[in-house]
Every structure is written in C-alpha cells, then in structure tokens.
Symmetry: C2
Subunit: 331 residues, 2 copies
C-alpha cells in the first residue's frame, strides 16, 4: 500500500492489541511471587515469536532504565509493565511487534503499523496468536469469549486504535463534537493529556471501547468505518481552512517549519506543536518532505530516545538542545 492508501496524511499509525490469559492460572494481579510460572510463560512467548519474527526478549528489572523508558515512549510497552518484577516483552526488530508477559493480562500481543493498515497489523498478530494458542492453554469461554483481567476487555479481547493527526479539526474547533460523536458509537478519543483534551501537535489516539458480544469482524468493520469517516472529516476541514485562511495558514505552517529547522533549543511541547503544523504542511503539499520522517522525529524527540541517541543521560536543558539538533539531522 502506498501513502495515499494508508491515509498517512491523517493516520500516523494503526495498533491492534489482543489480551490473552492462561487457563486455570490466576490473573497477574492475583498471582504474586510465582517466578517459575512466568519463566515458563516467557519461554513459550519467546519461542513462538522467534518462529515468526526476528527480535529479542527483554525481562523487566534486567533492562537498562533508559532503554525501558524509550520502549514506553514508543508505545511498545506500557508503564505498568515496568513495575512488574516477573514480566518481560518480546520486541520485533522492526518494532511493529511487541508481546508483553505479566502486564494486566498474562499475555498482551500488540502490532503497530505505520498509516492506516488494519489488515496487515491484524494479520501479523493473528499468526502469532494462533501459534501461541497451539502451545499454551488460553482461557476462552464459549459464552464470554476470551477471559481477561479487566471485564471491559472480555470477549474478542481485541483493542484497535489509530494515532491520528487532526490539525484542521482542532484549529477549526470541531474536536469536542467529534469526540462526543465517537463516544456514542463506542470509540474513545485521547489527546496527549487524556480524554477530550486538546492534544500536543494535533495528535489523538482513537480506540474501540468495551466490545463484549461483538465478533472480531464486527469490531474491525465498525473501526474501519469510523476511521474512514474521521479521515474524510479532517480532509474536508483542511480544504475548508485552506480556502478560509489561505496564505495565513500557509504562513503559519512555513514559519513553524522555519523555527523548527533553525532553532538551537526547543521544549517538547513547542516542538510537538510546530511539528503538527509541519505535518499539515506536508499533507497540504506546502512542504516537500517525507511524512514518515516527520512522524519518526516525533518519536526520536522523546526524552529517553534522545538519551539513547546522544548516548548519555540528559538534563531538561540539554534535551531542549539535543531536540533542536535532531531536527536538522532528521528532516
């Protein structure tokens, strides 16, 4: 699929997540001090993953703290996993696949793909899920579906989400209306600071809510439709803004680009804000840059990632400088 088919102008990435638990075994929050059980589980997960993907298994407590934090920033692990003494995660080399052990559920399978790419993300994860099911006794109830630690995940135990860039809907003050509409049809919208807030850099995460009683196919279909609608709404609003604001919008975008590519220090918050405008500029054809590089920059500029890139622990002031230096090297 090319960028247009993946709707990369609006959709930054697609994430599919399955929650799985082992039959007869207490859920993680009830299962304490049972290191040997997790050792077996981690071995099983690692074996299955290695059969299908290139990658590596990391145990919590054994990971470098900065590296661990960078995985959180990249949404490859949750901050909950970090505190678990007997947990771990398999990270695929291309960082699309990450399989957590002993997070909220015994196993959390996740695949993130760039752009809107539900079929590939789902397909990749399904292969692993089938292999795992053949090696481990997964808790499944004919009436409830997959059993999960939190009842909201019961059933398909599948969470679909997209990270979307909605500058025009944000600037045009259409976000609260959209969030409410999505809520009604079972989708949650999160800004950088939680539900319903204005996001940093116009980025929002939209995911399906509890789906008890719905089949995976139904959930996927509803999700596909919702995302298509959001993409359409954002694109229409962009055209509208382009007409209404004209050169004022282009000026704002180009100034953002000018500051971003020339500054010597920049805070994370200003950085994300300017990057949001630059992303819009690329989508509108004002700036001739690769949108993947723009999105990559958002990831690379996170605190822990910058420590990894510069190979040292940075103060906030040093991060602001490193972040500015990073832009020149990346876009």
């Amino acid at each position: 699929m090319n960028n247009t088919e993946k709707n990369k102008d609006v959709v930054i990435s697609t994430r599919v997540r399955f929650a799985r638990n082992i039959k007869g075994l207490p859920f993680p929050h009830k299962l304490t001090g049972q290191e040997e059980i997790y050792s077996v589980l981690m071995k099983t997960v690692n074996d299955c993953c290695n059969e299908l993907f290139k990658g590596k298994f990391y145990k919590t407590g054994e990971m470098d703290k900065v590296f661990e934090q960078s995985l959180v920033e990249k949404h490859l692990i949750s901050s909950e996993l970090v505190d678990k003494p007997y947990g771990g995660v398999f990270i695929g080399d291309d960082e699309t696949i990450s399989i957590m052990v002993n997070e909220e559920d015994h196993i959390r399978e996740q695949c993130i793909m760039p752009g809107f790419d539900l079929d590939n993300a789902y397909g990749k994860l399904l292969r692993l899920d089938k292999l795992l099911a053949s090696k481990a006794d997964i808790a499944y109830d004919r009436f409830f579906g997959y059993l999960t630690a939190c009842p909201t995940n019961l059933g398909a135990a599948m969470r679909l989400s997209v990270m979307v860039s909605l500058p025009a809907l944000t600037i045009g003050r259409k976000m609260s209306g959209l969030v409410a509409s999505l809520q009604k049809i079972g989708f949650t919208t999160r800004g950088a600071y939680g539900e319903g807030t204005e996001s940093e850099g116009f980025e929002y995460q939209i995911s399906n809510q509890a789906a008890v009683g719905k089949s995976e196919e139904t959930i996927k279909e509803l999700f596909r439709k919702a995302v298509a609608q959001i993409v359409e709404l954002e694109r229409r609003e962009r055209e509208k803004l382009k007409k209404e604001l004209g050169l004022d919008l282009k000026d704002k975008i180009m100034r953002s680009y000018g500051i971003l590519t020339n500054c010597c220090k920049i805070s994370s918050s200003e950085f994300m804000n300017l990057l949001g405008y630059v992303r819009l500029g690329v989508a509108l054809g004002y700036i001739d840059k690769d949108i993947d590089r723009i999105d990559n920059l958002a990831v690379l500029s996170q605190p822990a990632m910058m420590c990894i890139l510069t190979k040292k622990v940075l103060t906030a002031e040093e991060r602001d400088r490193a972040r500015a230096a990073l832009v020149g090297k990346t876009i």
Copy 2:
C-alpha cells in the same frame, strides 16, 4: 578597505552632506516662482556632476511618483524636495552621490558609502564641491563660513552621519545612556521614530549637530572618534551578551532567520526586527551570509522599492507578501 576596516559589523553606511547657496540669491524659502534661476542652477549642477560621475538628473514634478518615493526611502532625496516645484536631483548611477537643487538650500551635496568610509565619502564629495565652486558663486563669509538657510548649518555647513546597527546596546538597555553621552559631545541619535526612540531593527542614525566655528578637519576628527567609540562599545556589549545569554541569544537569532527565510507574509516592522537579529547573527558568525545583502534587503523591502521591483502599485497586504518573497531571492 575590507569589511573589517569599514566596521561593517556595526556601521551600515556613512553619509557626508554639504549645504551650499548662491551668493546674492535669496534662500529657497524666500525665492518663489523663479523657475528660470533654478533652470540655470540645475544645468550647472548637472554639468559638474556629469564631468565627475555617471548618473542622471531628475526634476521634481517630472519624476514617476513611485520612483521618487523610492529615492526618499534610500535617503537619496529628502521628502522636503518632493514638494518643491522647481527642484531636482542628480543621482549617481551607483547611488552613492546625490545632489539636490532647491531643497532647504540652493544646493545640497551628499555622498553615502557602505560601512564606515568617511574619507572616501568626503573625498568624492569634495571633488564635486570644488568643481561647483569654480562654476558658481557660492555664498561664503570669512567670519561665518558657508552661509545656509538654517543657522544650525552655518560654518562648515557639513553634516556627517552614520547609520549604525546597535542590537547589543539596545538589548542590553544601554541606548539611553549612549544617546545622552553623544548629545553632550555634540551628536544627535535618531531611531526609526525620531530622537532617542528605540529603533526598528536596532538601526540608528548618528550625526553631528551645529558646528559653527569648527573646521571641517575638527568635525571629521571628532566624528571619527565618536564612531570608533560606538563601534567599540557595541562590540564589547555583543561579547558580553554572548557570554551572558549564550545559546538563548543564538536561538533567538536562528529563529529570526528561520522565520524570515520561510514566512509567506511579513509586516515591515516585524521584518526590520527579524532582520536586525539576523544582521547580529552574521556579525557574531552564527549565520554565514553577506552583510551587504542583509543591508540591501532592508532597502529593497521599503514600500516604494517593492512597487518598483514588482512593477506594480501594491496594497499593504500585497507588500507583506512581496516582502516575504523578496527574502528568499535576496539572502
């Protein structure tokens, strides 16, 4: 002289002006409706100028209005001359020499040179002045010196001025002190909005005040010393700011450069402000650009100049766009 000798990091240009009047002829404000007298005077001035320089003579009232305004913007004529029915000006092709007829005095001779270049500006003008004195009967009194319409010009009838860029002294809030000190030793400082005000783009014009009873050599020597002192003060303050503000200053400069070179529209005032920071960036070695091009940009971006460049009369909004477009072509 190279840029360092001309102190171009601080001095944008040097101007020398002589006021001359014809013996026995009433001063311009008393001499009305005497077209034939000015015709003779203009011919004399034009003949002398043509003997020494390449250029053209323009009569007021016959000039294109936009072109006329562009001469005001470039300080080649005064706005007073524009309204005089029987006036004119010889403009040298390189725009260093401009000789006005029927402004405040019968003849106003002027030479502007880039950087601090008093000797060349003075020397060029002196050659013309001598030639003029041999062809016209210049009003000179052994006691008072050259006679002028305004008594403040009496004597040497010579006004020396420099256009200086003083970002560090402005940012460091040292300007009011400097203006007061210069006042005491006989120099007037003008910002963009008149005496003592904060200038646009950190630019100030500093000139000698009334000099009755002082010889040309004395005036030149005092002026040379004052300029050298200003240059020294500004340079010292720049080093101080560089130490105190460090990356904050560089960041401000580079952001200014980023906005200036990427914006799609920009007001004259913001433009001059950003250009002032960029000029400082070039002087501090942060930006590798030709300082002459920066200074040229300040001239080209004036309203009438932009109409000439774009070959049409522009609205304020169109000028803001043309100004932004100009930057990309010039630096």
